[in-house]
């Protein structure tokens, strides 16, 4: 095999282990469930509650996932945007001192313009009432 490809063998093994683990859990849960309920399976028609999450207690009502206000998504998107902004600032801060000697105006200018664009976006979001939760 190509030496370039051989270095991916660990990844292939990991892939097989991941598939095996997922499939194993599914198969094991089905097999174990059958084994644990082997005596009661004949009465399944009578005993619907066997398959509910809680065999005794309150009967679950409604959907598992509730609907959220669209505002949450808006805030989540804006959060990601400004989160990325900060993420970009870390590597920039690391190389800042070295780059300052050779390309001073460039390294400052590129970050200032980047922050400037996001700041304009922030003003836009603010004025468009993206953070206004009353309405």
């Amino acid at each position: 095999m190509d030496s370039q490809l051989t270095q991916y063998i660990p990844i292939l093994i990991l892939l097989l282990v991941a598939i095996g683990a997922a499939a194993g859990m599914l198969i094991a849960s089905v097999a174990l469930g059958r084994w644990a309920n082997r005596g009661r399976l004949q009465n399944r028609a009578k005993n619907q509650n066997i398959n509910t999450p809680y065999e005794c207690g309150m009967i679950a009502v409604g959907e598992g996932n509730t609907r959220l206000s669209v505002k949450f998504y808006l805030v989540a998107m804006l959060f990601i945007l400004f989160d990325i902004e900060v993420v970009f600032m870390y590597p920039w801060a690391v190389v800042y001192r070295d780059m300052l000697k050779t390309n001073g105006p460039v390294i400052l200018g590129s970050m200032v313009s980047f922050l400037g664009i996001l700041f304009i976006g922030y003003i836009y979001a603010l004025k468009k009432k993206a953070f206004d939760w009353k309405s």
Partner: protein
């Protein structure tokens, strides 16, 4: 830095419009569109004074990622003109967009930035970034009429297929990078010269093929054309026009650079592939356009067939072919924008884009009727308009190559056949204007003066490119020169 001064100006303008929107009353928002168009005009004029260094050969920046040569300047001006005309069109369209018309203008400006970067791209990373900037803005532009199902459908279709094609493109870039260890066009060209065996490397060729797939999607060439009619029909008319002109031209300029600057050694052997793609695209576009009754869908198929005509210039593999592509694109810009502007104005008070809305147009508004007639005649390739001369140049370039491979004569035959088919459906549109029966609506259409101006400019340009081809042909030949000279050492302006 001064290599991308035009792009920076456009970005600043876009951000300015975005901020200006916040302090503009709703009934004055159309002024923002006019302001954006006017300021783009200023940027266009400035490009004639600020880019003098182009005369002294190509200039490079950012580790050769950006190049400013004749080709880049030609396309930058091309995109600026397209954006100005589309902005004027979108002001006419503003009554059909429920909210956020200023954002519509901004997105056009941001898409324009991506196109202008594409014109300068000299590195596969730059290609990808520029194309994504174009695609992502078009996802929004295509689905801008949120309350119209067709518009949302167009946006979703474009999103899914564009993402798929971007995946192909990135995979192709990865394979090319993996086999050559370069992403820069000039470096790849040098690597191909230094190591001719590379041009036979399967992985490398697969990479180049995947890149062509990604770009072929942008220009809607067969077999990557399937999205075009649906998206053209559903999108808001100005978005469709910008998609048909700007996005397609961006794909063309990138294809030119990739095929003739990055991998010329491969392109030499792929003339058959280009001939086949070109022939099928022409046939597919023209044959499918025949039964269409929806104007925008008709122009969608027409846009596919035009991609086929443009590919003729690639298939010719000659300098004349490249110059013909540029000439044809210039004519195509004004023709298509004129057609879409008329459609935008005619359908202003109606909900349908059906061909019957044109009935009696010559009495409702003679200017619109004349503009649409000229656009259709030019698209059909009738002398003396721009479309004729462009097609003539493309076919001439192909015939000149006929001596090397008889397949070129077949290609000419298929093209002529396609053009003859196209006469039928283009003249169907003209017939709908002048010879419709049972016309009841003769209410005159009022056209605002900026829209009139843009139509007159388009008509003048169509006539000029058809009647006086000398100067523009010289310009496109000079611009295409950027694709001949083997890339020498870099003239570093900015590191």
């Amino acid at each position: 830095m001064n290599l991308m001064i035009l792009e920076l100006a456009v970005v600043v303008l876009g951000l300015g419009i975005l901020l200006g929107d916040l302090w503009t009353a709703a009934h004055q928002k159309h002024l923002l569109g006019y302001a954006a168009a006017a300021l783009l005009g200023v940027i266009l004029l400035a490009s004639f004074f600020g880019l003098e260094q182009v005369g002294s050969g190509p200039a490079y920046a950012f580790n050769n990622m950006l190049v400013l040569d004749g080709l880049a300047v030609f396309f930058k001006r091309f995109f600026l003109i397209a954006a100005i005309l589309v902005l004027l069109m979108s002001v006419e369209f503003s009554n059909r967009i429920q909210s956020g018309i200023s954002e519509f203008y901004c997105l056009i400006l941001f898409a324009l930035t991506g196109m202008m970067f594409a014109a300068s791209a000299n590195d596969f990373i730059m290609v990808f970034v520029a194309l994504e900037l174009i695609s992502v803005t078009f996802y929004v532009l295509n689905s801008f009429q949120r309350n119209r199902l067709a518009s949302l459908e167009a946006g979703i279709k474009y999103l899914i297929l564009s993402a798929l094609s971007a995946a192909f493109l990135v995979f192709g870039i990865a394979l090319v990078f993996g086999t050559t260890t370069f992403t820069n066009f000039a470096d790849i060209q040098r690597a191909l010269v230094a190591n001719p065996a590379l041009a036979g490397n399967g992985l490398f060729l697969l990479g180049v093929l995947m890149i062509i797939v990604g770009l072929g999607f942008k220009i809607a060439a067969f077999p990557f054309q399937i999205w075009a009619p649906d998206v053209y029909q559903g999108s808001p008319t100005p978005s469709t026009a910008f998609l048909a002109v700007g996005s397609k031209a961006a794909g063309i300029v990138l294809l030119l650079r990739v095929l003739f600057v990055a991998v010329p050694a491969v392109t030499q052997h792929w003339s058959k592939l280009l001939i086949i793609i070109s022939a099928i695209t022409i046939l597919y576009g023209n044959l499918c356009a025949i039964p269409q009754r929806n104007l925008k869908r008709l122009l969608g198929y027409s846009s596919i067939s035009n991609a086929g005509y443009l590919l003729l210039g690639f298939a010719a593999l000659s300098q004349a072919g490249k110059a013909a592509i540029l000439y044809y694109l210039a004519g195509y810009l004004f023709t298509v924008v004129a057609a879409f502007t008329v459609i935008c104005l005619v359908t202003r008070d109606r909900d349908s884009d059906d061909i019957t809305v044109l009935a009696g147009l010559h009495r409702r508004s003679p200017l619109l009727a004349m503009a649409l007639t000229m656009a259709m005649v030019s698209l059909a390739g009738i002398p003396p308009l721009a479309g004729f001369f462009g097609k003539f140049l493309l076919l001439k370039a192909v015939v000149e190559q006929g001596a090397t491979n008889s397949a070129y004569y077949w290609l000419v035959g298929i093209t002529v056949f396609g053009v003859v088919i196209s006469l039928y459906y283009y003249f169907g549109v003209i017939r709908a204007i002048y010879w419709s029966k049972d016309v009841t609506d003769f209410s005159p259409i009022t056209v605002s003066w900026p829209a009139k101006l843009s139509l007159v400019v388009c008509m003048a340009a169509i006539l000029y490119l058809g009647l006086l081809p000398g100067k523009p042909l010289k310009l496109s030949e000079d611009s295409a020169l950027a694709l001949t000279t083997p890339v020498s050492g870099s003239k570093q302006l900015f590191h």
